[in-house]
C-alpha cells in the first residue's frame, strides 16, 4: 500500500434537524463544503484546465438516501461544480458511512487506483422521508393496473385510509435494530445498566461536552473546520457555526429531563444523548507522493482504518473493538501513544462504557482475547473540542467529522498521533489512526 494523506478538510456547521436546514436538501448541504475544499486546495474541477492537481473520484457516505438523489455523491459532485467526467459513488455503513468513504479513499489511493479523491459524509436527517406501508403501496399498484373506470372506482373504494395516515417514519425505523428490535437509545440504556453508569455521571459527561464545544467555538478553534452555509432559497443569511452547543449547560437543567427510551428504569435522556442533526464533512485524500509533488502542507496520513463487528444490542461498544484493532493494524501501537482520541458521542453512556471496557483487563480478555487491557484514555485527550452530544450527529457525516476534528486538533497542538472512532448501529465499530504531517 502507498502512503495516503489527508490534505485538508472542511465541514458545514451542524444544525439540529427540523430547524433552519429543515427544507435544505442533503446535496445542498454537501456541495458547499465540497466546493470550498476544491477552492482552498486549488483542485482541478475538470471544467477548467487549470489545477494544482486533478480530482479522480468522489466518494460520499450517506444513510438516508434522498429520494431525488439516490447516488448523492454524484449529485454533490456535479452541484459543487465538478465536471461530469469525474465519477462519484455513495457508500452506506450506518453511522460510520463518512468513515467508510475515507476507507474507500484510502484503499483506492493506497492501491494505486486513484491519486486524488474527495471523500466525506452528508446527512439531512430532516429530509428523511415518510414511507407508505406495504398495503398502501399495493393499493396504488392496483389502482394503476385498473383499466376500466368501473375497476378504478372499485379499487378506490378499498382505499386503506388508516395505513395512509400512519406512514413508516424512516428515521425511527432506521434507528431501530432489525435483529434485536432495540432502538439505539435502548442499547445505550442496556450499556448503562451493565457498566453501572449513574444518571449523574452521564449528565456530567454531557455537560463537559457542551463546555468543551462552547470553548472551542469561542476561541475560534471550531471555525477552522467549518465553512459558513448560505441559506437557500433567499440566501439572506448564512449559518457560520454549530447550533447545538449550549453555553452554561448545567447539571441541574439536565437532571430535570425524563428518561426517554426506558421510562421506568432508564438513565438515557435527550440531554445525555446526541441530537438528531443535519450536516456534511468533506476531506481531500491524496497519495503522499502526489501531495508532496504538488507542494501541499498536509494535515496528516492514515496509519490504519478498520471496522469490527459484535452483538447489535450493545452496538455502542463498537469503538472498544475497533480502537483495539486499529492500533494493532497501525503496527501495534498503544492507546497511550494517541495524543487525541475522538470517540463519537452517540450517547454519554455509550462512550463511558467504551472507556470502561477498554480499561478493563477482564472485558478485554473476554471480548478481544488479549492478556492486557487496551488502556485508559486521559480525559484531557478525549474529544478535546466537545463531541456529538453538543454538536450533533448527522449520521452519514459524523465518521468524516471525527477524523477531521482529530487532525485539526493534532495540528493545533502540534502533536503526532490521533485516533477517531465511532459506534455503528447494528453492532459495528470503526476506527482510523492518523499521524500528523506527511
Amino acid at each position: 500500500m502507498r502512503d495516503v494523506v489527508i490534505v485538508d478538510g472542511v465541514r458545514s456547521p451542524f444544525v439540529k434537524a427540523g430547524a433552519e436546514l429543515a427544507k435544505v436538501r442533503a446535496h445542498e448541504i454537501g456541495r458547499v463544503p465540497m466546493r470550498e475544499l476544491i477552492e482552498r486546495l486549488e483542485l482541478g474541477d475538470g471544467v477548467g484546465t487549470k489545477a494544482r492537481v486533478k480530482v479522480d473520484e468522489v466518494c460520499i457516505g450517506n444513510v438516508g438516501s434522498p429520494e431525488d438523489a439516490a447516488n448523492i455523491a454524484r449529485v454533490i459532485g456535479m452541484q459543487a461544480g465538478l465536471d461530469k467526467s469525474i465519477p462519484g459513488y455513495t457508500v452506506h455503513r450506518n453511522c460510520a458511512s463518512g468513515m467508510e468513504a475515507i476507507m474507500q479513499g484510502w484503499l483506492k489511493i493506497g492501491t494505486g487506483q486513484a491519486d486524488v479523491m474527495l471523500v466525506g459524509g452528508v446527512e439531512s436527517m430532516s429530509g428523511m422521508p415518510l414511507i407508505y406501508r406495504p398495503d398502501v403501496v399495493d393499493f396504488f399498484g392496483r389502482l394503476m393496473r385498473a383499466k376500466s373506470p368501473m375497476q378504478k372506482i372499485m379499487t378506490l373504494l378499498k382505499l386503506p385510509l388508516g395505513s395512509m395516515l400512519n406512514p413508516i417514519v424512516a428515521i425511527q425505523e432506521g434507528l431501530t435494530d432489525p435483529f434485536c428490535g432495540m432502538n439505539m437509545g435502548q442499547t445505550a440504556d442496556l450499556l448503562a445498566k451493565e457498566f453501572r453508569l449513574t444518571r449523574e455521571d452521564q449528565d456530567r459527561f454531557a455537560v463537559e461536552s457542551h463546555r468543551k464545544a462552547v470553548a472551542a467555538q469561542e476561541s475560534g478553534r471550531m471555525a477552522e473546520e467549518i465553512v459558513p452555509l448560505p441559506m437557500p432559497m433567499k440566501y439572506t443569511t448564512s449559518i457560520a457555526q454549530d447550533v447545538g452547543p449550549r453555553k452554561g449547560q448545567s447539571l441541574e437543567q439536565l437532571a430535570k429531563l425524563k428518561p426517554y427510551f426506558d421510562r421506568v428504569n432508564g438513565t438515557v435522556t435527550v440531554g445525555n444523548a446526541c441530537p438528531i442533526t443535519d450536516g456534511a464533512a468533506m476531506l481531500a485524500l491524496m497519495s503522499a507522493d502526489k501531495a508532496r509533488e504538488a507542494g501541499y502542507k498536509v494535515l496528516g496520513k492514515i496509519r490504519s482504518a478498520v471496522f469490527t463487528g459484535h452483538e447489535p444490542e450493545r452496538m455502542g461498544l463498537g469503538p472498544a473493538y475497533a480502537i483495539h484493532k486499529a492500533l494493532q493494524k497501525a503496527g501495534g501501537m498503544k492507546l497511550s501513544q494517541m495524543d487525541v482520541v475522538e470517540i463519537n458521542e452517540a450517547f454519554a453512556a455509550q462512550v463511558m462504557s467504551v472507556l470502561k471496557a477498554m480499561a478493563s483487563k477482564e472485558w478485554c480478555s473476554e471480548k478481544l482475547g488479549t492478556s492486557e487491557a487496551v488502556g485508559e484514555v486521559d480525559p484531557a485527550r478525549l474529544n478535546p473540542n466537545g463531541g456529538a452530544i453538543a454538536l450533533g450527529h448527522p449520521v452519514g457525516s459524523s465518521g468524516a467529522r471525527v477524523v477531521l476534528t482529530a487532525l485539526k486538533e493534532l495540528k493545533r497542538s502540534n502533536k503526532q498521533f490521533g485516533i477517531a472512532s465511532l459506534c455503528i448501529g447494528g453492532g459495528q465499530g470503526g476506527a482510523v489512526v492518523v499521524e500528523r504531517g506527511a
Binding site: 466546493r35 477552492e39 486549488e42 484546465t49 459543487a80 432559497m233 440566501y235 457560520a240
Partner: protein, 707 residues
C-alpha cells in the same frame, strides 16, 4: 435536372424531391435578391414537373435553416414605392411557391427566422428538429417593420390568434418542441440525420391533413365580439411596453384585425402596403442601424484579429454586496465558477442574496428547475481570505469607490493571483491608469464597468488604462460578450464614456429645477422623449451621494464646462441619499416612489423662475444638447473611436431611446449645426461656459454630421 446557384434540387424517390437551400460561400442561408429571384425560377421548374408527389424544403447548413431576409435590402428601401415593389416581389415568389400542386414540407433543422419562417408557413406542413439550434420566429417587429413575405397573413391562419399575436408582436423565438406545442410545426424529430428523417416522415404522412391545435375556445376567441377583446388586450400590452413610441406593433395590430377573414390575395396586398409604410420610417432605419451595430460587436474582440483573447474559466469577485453579487451572478449564470471575497461574512451574504434574487427570478419564470438553481448558486463560493485565487483567470474588483482603497486592494491581491490572471476594476469613475501605477503587472490591469443592476443593464464598458495590454482588453471584451452583455472599449478618463455623457444631462436637470421647473415636469418631458425614467428620478435611483461624488470628480477634471449645480451638494448633504434611504427628489416607501418631496424647496433660498416659460422642446434641448456637446469632445479625445460606440453606449447604458438610434443619430437628426446654435443661445442666456458649444462640436457642425 436544372442546376441553381442557391439551391439543390434532388430526387428522393417515390415521386418526392428535396429542395435544399445551399447558399454558396457562406455559413448561413439568407433571402437576398438572388435567392428570391431564383426561388421563383425553381418554383416555375417545379410546376413543370408532372412526376412529383411531394417536396421537402431543407437546408445544407448546420444550425441554420434560413436566417431571414437580407437586412441590407430593407435598410436600402427609401421610398414607399421601392419598399412596396421589393416586398411584393419576395412575397409573390413565396406565394407562387405556396400554390404548388403537391405537398411541400419544410424541414426546419436550425434558425428559421423572418423570411425563412414565412417560406415554411407557405409549405403544406412543417417539421422541426429537437436541436437547440432551432429558433423559429418573426423578429421583424424589432427592426420597426412587420413580416412582409406573407407571415402576417399565414401565421394567424395556422395557429390560434393569441399565439400569432404573441409571435409577431414580440419577435420571440421558439425551439422545435415549443413550436410543436404552439401548433407551428406538425411534429418534431431527432436532430441526428434530420433531413433524412424529415423526408421519411413526409412520405409516411403524405396526404394526411396538417396538425392544428385549435380548440373550441380558441375558435371562439376569433369570433366577434371576442376577437375585438383579444385585440384590445394586445393593444394594451403594446402600449404598456412601448408607450406608443414604436409604430410597428400598432401597425401589426391594425393589419391583423383588418385582414382577418379576407381572401389571401387581398390580405397579402395589404400586408405589403403596411410593410412599405413601416419600412421607410426613420424609426425602422434607426432600429436596423442599431441591430447592425450590435451584430458588429459580436464579430470583434474590441482590439483586432491579431490579438487572441484569454479564456476565462475561473473567476473571482472582490467586494460582495449588491454590485459584487450581481457580477458573481453574471459569472455563475454562464457556469463560470466564481470566488466571492469580502472582509465580513455579512457582506458575503449580501452577495449571495443578490445572486439568489436574480436566479430566483429565472426559477419563478420556470427557466430554471430547483436543482439547476442550486447548481448555479453552487458556482458561487464565498470567502473571507484569498484561498482559491491562485487558479482564477480574472479578478473583478468591486470594492468601495476610493482610490487609496482600490490601490491597496490591488497590491494585496497581486500577492495571491497567478501571473496570467487579469485584474479588472468595476470602478465607475476612478482612473485605471492611476491604479496601474502601483501594479506589479500593469498590463494585466483594466476596467470592467458593469452598470447597476447587473442583471438588467446590458452595457459593459471595457476600460483600457495607459498600460493595459491588447490581450487584456480583448479578453475582457470577449468575456463581457460571453456573459451576454454588450461591451464597448473605452479609453481611461474621468467618467469613462457613459457617466461622462450622462453628467451634463443630470446637471442640467438640476439647474432647470433651480430655475423654477418642477421635478414632475422635468421627468415627464424626458420620459415622453423616450428615456426609461426622468433625470430626477434617475438621480434618486443612482443615489444622490454617488451623483455628487461623480459630479465633483468630473468638475475637477473638466473645469467650467462641468460646473456642478450647487444643488447637487446641497441635496446630498441634507440627508437625502435617494431611493436607498427613501428620501430624494421623491419620497419612497418600500422602494416604491410615492410622491415628490416638496420639502426640498426649503433647501434653496433663491429659486428663480427664469426657465418656467421654456417649452417642452426647449427643456429637452437644454438637457440633451450638452450631452451631444460632451460626446463631440470625447470623440476627439478618442474615448471611443466611433459615433456608433457612443450610441451603443447610451442606448445600452442609459436606456436612451433606441427608436432615436442613440445620442448622435439623434444629433444628426436634429442637425448638428442647430444643436451648436441652440447651445450658443443657452450659453448667452446665463448658461455661460457650461453650455458653450465646444470647438469639437463646431467642427462637426461645419462638417455636417457625426455619421
Amino acid at each position: 435536372m436544372a442546376t441553381y446557384t442557391n439551391y439543390k434540387l434532388i430526387d428522393r424517390g417515390d415521386g418526392w424531391a428535396e429542395l435544399c437551400f445551399d447558399q454558396p460561400d457562406t455559413k448561413a442561408n439568407i433571402f437576398n435578391e438572388s435567392a428570391l429571384k431564383e426561388l421563383h425560377q425553381v418554383t416555375q421548374d417545379l410546376y413543370a414537373r408532372k412526376d412529383l408527389k411531394g417536396l421537402v424544403v431543407s437546408s445544407s447548413k448546420s444550425d441554420i435553416f434560413i436566417a431571414g431576409a437580407d437586412i441590407n435590402l430593407i435598410k436600402g428601401l427609401d421610398t414607399i414605392d421601392k419598399a412596396l415593389t421589393g416586398c411584393t416581389a419576395g412575397q409573390q415568389a413565396i406565394h407562387y411557391f405556396s400554390k404548388l400542386p403537391f405537398e411541400t414540407v419544410a424541414a426546419i433543422g436550425g434558425a428559421c427566422l423572418g423570411g425563412g419562417f414565412e417560406l415554411s408557413l407557405a409549405c403544406t406542413k412543417r417539421v422541426a428538429s429537437d436541436s437547440k439550434a432551432v429558433k423559429i420566429g418573426l423578429p421583424e417587429v424589432m427592426l420597426g417593420i412587420l413580416p412582409g413575405f406573407g407571415g402576417s397573413v399565414r401565421l394567424p391562419r395556422l395557429v390560434p390568434l393569441p399565439t400569432a399575436l404573441d409571435m409577431i408582436l414580440t419577435g420571440k423565438q421558439v425551439d422545435g418542441t415549443r413550436a410543436y406545442k404552439m401548433g407551428i410545426v406538425d411534429t418534431y424529430l431527432p436532430q441526428q440525420d434530420f433531413n433524412a428523417r424529415a423526408l421519411a416522415w413526409a412520405k409516411a404522412n403524405a396526404g394526411k391533413p396538417g396538425r392544428r391545435v385549435h380548440t373550441f375556445l380558441t375558435r371562439l376567441m376569433e369570433m366577434v365580439p371576442f376577437r375585438g377583446y383579444v385585440f384590445s388586450q394586445a393593444r394594451k400590452m403594446v402600449m404598456k411596453n412601448t408607450k406608443g413610441k414604436y409604430p410597428a406593433p400598432l401597425k401589426i395590430l391594425d393589419l391583423l384585425a383588418e385582414i382577418h377573414g379576407l381572401g389571401i390575395d387581398e390580405a397579402l396586398k395589404r400586408e405589403a402596403k403596411s410593410f412599405a409604410v413601416l419600412a421607410v420610417t426613420p424609426i425602422s432605419k434607426r432600429l436596423i442601424e442599431l441591430f447592425l451595430l450590435m451584430e458588429s460587436v459580436k464579430k470583434t474582440n474590441g482590439v483586432g484579429p491579431e490579438v487572441t483573447a484569454m479564456k476565462i474559466e475561473r473567476s473571482a469577485v472582490l467586494g460582495a454586496g449588491v454590485m459584487g453579487g450581481g457580477i458573481a451572478w453574471a459569472f455563475a449564470s454562464k457556469d463560470i465558477p466564481v470566488r466571492m471575497k469580502d472582509i465580513k461574512q455579512e457582506s458575503v451574504n449580501l452577495g449571495y442574496q443578490q445572486a439568489a434574487e436574480n436566479f430566483g427570478y429565472a426559477l419563478k419564470k420556470k427557466k430554471l428547475t430547483k436543482n439547476q438553481f442550486m447548481g448555479k448558486m453552487g458556482k458561487i463560493s464565498g470567502t473571507l481570505d484569498f484561498s482559491g485565487f491562485k487558479l482564477v483567470d480574472l479578478v473583478v474588483e468591486a470594492v468601495v469607490e476610493n482610490m487609496d482603497v482600490k490601490k491597496k486592494v490591488l497590491q494585496e491581491t497581486e500577492n495571491y493571483i497567478s501571473d496570467h490572471c487579469i485584474y479588472a476594476s468595476n470602478t465607475s469613475s476612478l482612473s485605471i491608469s492611476e491604479m496601474q501605477s502601483v501594479a506589479k503587472r500593469p498590463e494585466k490591469v483594466g476596467g470592467l464597468h458593469f452598470f447597476n443592476p447587473v442583471s438588467r443593464m446590458p452595457l459593459v464598458e471595457v476600460i483600457a488604462g495607459a498600460k493595459t495590454s491588447k490581450e487584456t482588453v480583448a479578453s475582457l471584451f470577449e468575456l463581457a460578450k460571453k456573459l451576454g452583455k454588450t461591451p464597448i472599449v473605452v479609453k481611461d478618463g474621468p467618467g469613462f464614456l457613459v457617466n461622462r455623457l450622462l453628467l451634463p444631462y443630470m446637471n442640467e436637470a438640476m439647474f432647470l429645477f433651480e430655475e423654477g421647473v418642477s421635478v414632475e415636469r422635468i421627468d415627464k418631458v424626458m420620459k415622453d422623449f423616450g428615456m426609461p425614467m426622468g433625470p430626477m428620478r434617475l438621480a434618486d435611483e443612482v443615489g444622490l451621494d454617488v451623483g455628487a461624488k461623480v459630479a465633483k470628480i468630473l468638475n475637477q477634471a473638466f473645469g467650467a464646462r462641468a460646473q456642478a449645480s450647487p444643488l447637487t451638494d446641497l441635496v446630498a448633504t441634507s440627508g437625502r441619499l435617494g431611493k436607498k434611504n427613501g428620501k430624494g427628489f421623491y419620497l419612497y416607501e418600500n422602494g416604491k416612489e410615492v410622491d415628490v418631496d416638496e420639502s426640498i424647496l426649503d433647501l434653496i433660498k433663491t429659486r428663480s423662475t427664469k426657465s418656467v416659460g421654456l417649452t417642452d422642446g426647449e427643456l429637452i434641448q437644454r438637457m440633451t444638447y450638452p450631452m451631444i456637446n460632451e460626446a463631440a469632445i470625447a470623440l476627439t479625445e478618442g474615448v471611443v473611436k466611433t459615433p456608433g460606440e457612443v450610441d451603443l453606449g447610451m442606448i445600452m447604458g442609459t436606456g436612451f431611446p433606441p427608436f432615436r438610434g442613440g445620442l448622435l443619430r439623434f444629433a444628426d437628426n436634429e442637425g448638428v449645426k442647430r444643436v451648436a446654435e441652440t447651445l450658443e443661445r443657452f450659453s448667452g442666456a446665463g448658461g455661460g461656459e457650461r453650455l458653450r458649444p465646444s470647438a469639437a462640436l463646431l467642427e462637426v457642425a461645419r462638417k455636417g454630421s457625426f455619421y
